[in-house]
Symmetry: none
Subunit: 189 residues, 4 copies
């Protein structure tokens, strides 16, 4: 991920990614970023006119929320009759392509920086949509219970996001498979 001969811009982003994840955006000075990247201070501002642009570039270029094309059921790999397994698979493949460092940044800076918040909001929607679709497909009988199905999808989304965000901080750990099974039961006949 960090080529030995990476160009300066890449090295700056690499350094920022590591520092922002480690100590937060505010506490990572541009001078320190430049130092870590082994480039002169001024070069940071050549590529990123303002410090915030470094964060924006990171979120833009190094996080990707895999969005489901409308109507495609295949992508969720839903198995009719097996809602628990379907959700478990979703938990194992969160539609977020990002390094562990970028994941920390995404959650940590969300409430101070709009661009980060938006990306996080998209992740949230996408997880919710996938969970709902997975449940719809896996559970074809439950027609009348749209509201319950939505609550189940929202609950599963909360667990997944909570896991990424707070579980480490609070020491709480949840087994997504157990939650998947729980929700399957709740929607079961």
């Amino acid at each position: 991920m960090n080529q030995p001969t990476a160009d300066s811009r890449t090295r700056i982003l690499d350094a920022a990614e590591a520092l922002f994840a480690d100590r937060g955006y505010e506490a990572s000075s541009t001078a320190r970023i430049a130092g870590h990247a082994n480039v002169p201070k001024g070069l940071v501002f050549h590529y990123f006119p303002q410090k915030i642009d470094v964060l924006v570039a990171l979120v833009d270029e190094r996080t990707f929320v895999e969005e489901l094309p409308d109507g495609s059921g295949a992508a969720v790999e839903a198995v009719p009759g097996d809602p628990a397994g379907t959700l478990s698979r979703l938990a194992r493949r969160l539609p977020l392509h990002a390094s562990p460092a970028m994941r920390r940044i995404l959650f940590r800076e969300a409430d101070t920086h709009k661009s980060v918040r938006e990306r996080l909001g998209r992740l949230n929607s996408e997880v919710f949509l996938r969970a709902r679709r997975a449940l719809e497909l896996a559970h074809p009988g439950a027609r009348g219970d749209q509201a319950r199905l939505e609550a189940a999808a929202a609950t599963f989304t909360a667990v997944l996001i909570y896991q990424e965000n707070l579980a480490g901080l609070t020491g709480q750990h949840i087994d997504p498979d157990a939650v998947a099974e729980l929700i399957a039961r709740a929607l079961g006949t």
Copy 2:
């Protein structure tokens, strides 16, 4: 909340609470806090030798996690046979006594300041314990299913904490009553 004759220390904490909630700990200078509190700059350091001590004092004195005495079932107001209602009541009375401002501070500064993180961890445990106990009491039949019951309690905790922390940011809103009902169904029969 801010008596006309509040003493200096209280006025400093009031100002810090408002500023930390509004713009974050890092972005609130001690000078600004003093200004808001209408006290001279030096006085802040008279009461709080270091800036971080202001945050620690706020968390210590202005957030309180109501902890359940061991074995007391009364406090959760569990109704045997009504797990959904029991959880709903828990959702409505999160065992966290803190102003909305302090709640924001608790979540925002959690991953940078240990003392805040600890308080948040206690809240998390307490919610989990209450949810578990509530389910145990409300659901006396489900003896054999200890693991499932724990997953249910953890799920409910995740939803409640997620609600406080991220729901506003991501635009996702969850009805805790619906989740309570869902979990009750999952544990049913």
Copy 3:
């Protein structure tokens, strides 16, 4: 003017006055001002939140345009029948109380900084009003020639201000007494 034990604020203003006059406002860095004043860099901003406030304070506190109370003829020391002498005296006592350094600053920074421009405008008006009143009093006969009298006052103002501002730069020097005599002749019978 520069006491050996002058307090810090005064020393900062002294240093700024000298530097602004010597090299201009833009070219005088706050660090250099602090160095000249022998105070730490930060102290400049303790007294003057922004660099521009140093200039504003200088203009406010160290230039003074002596304004004529309405209707007072005594102040101009006009001698009826001696317009030339009256104007000469005005030239010798420009109603501007300011050090030579402050005079340079006043003219040099006028077109970039509003507060300076306003002070300069006041000086200009005051000189014009005094010249006009002097001529009115010294020249009681010239009733019908209000327009010519105004042109004469404006001309004299231009010469005085030009003298302060550009004469040194361009190498041109004018004898105000000769101009006074010229104008007196122009208005003469």
Copy 4:
């Protein structure tokens, strides 16, 4: 003035002229000049090794002080017996060929940059010489009054230069025709 196919050097000077007039030399960065001129940053330094050379080139190439060949009376269009008219014509045709932007630059940067100051000094001398010659020619009788004539020429020069430089700033406006008439009267019998 700005041909569609103007070469890079011309475009750089055009941009610098506009920016220097608008915000001053110091406040106009070379990067901004390049941006306005739509040329790469490095090119500015290809044509002008130092930033100051841009200003020097502007003054050299875009301001011109029309200098009177010695002894030529025709150029001032002096009319013997009509000193007022002769001066009025001089006022209307200041021997300075320069755009309004260049005029601002000339006065604004005069006291910080020698080359500008010299050009301004030449303008000043030229106006003075023309005024003096005009008065000599228009007023052939006034031989004995060389001193008074010089004062009159200097006065007229001051009014003209003041007009260009400060009148706008201070709000004072002078009618050169009225001044011309005033001076003519002063030199009259």
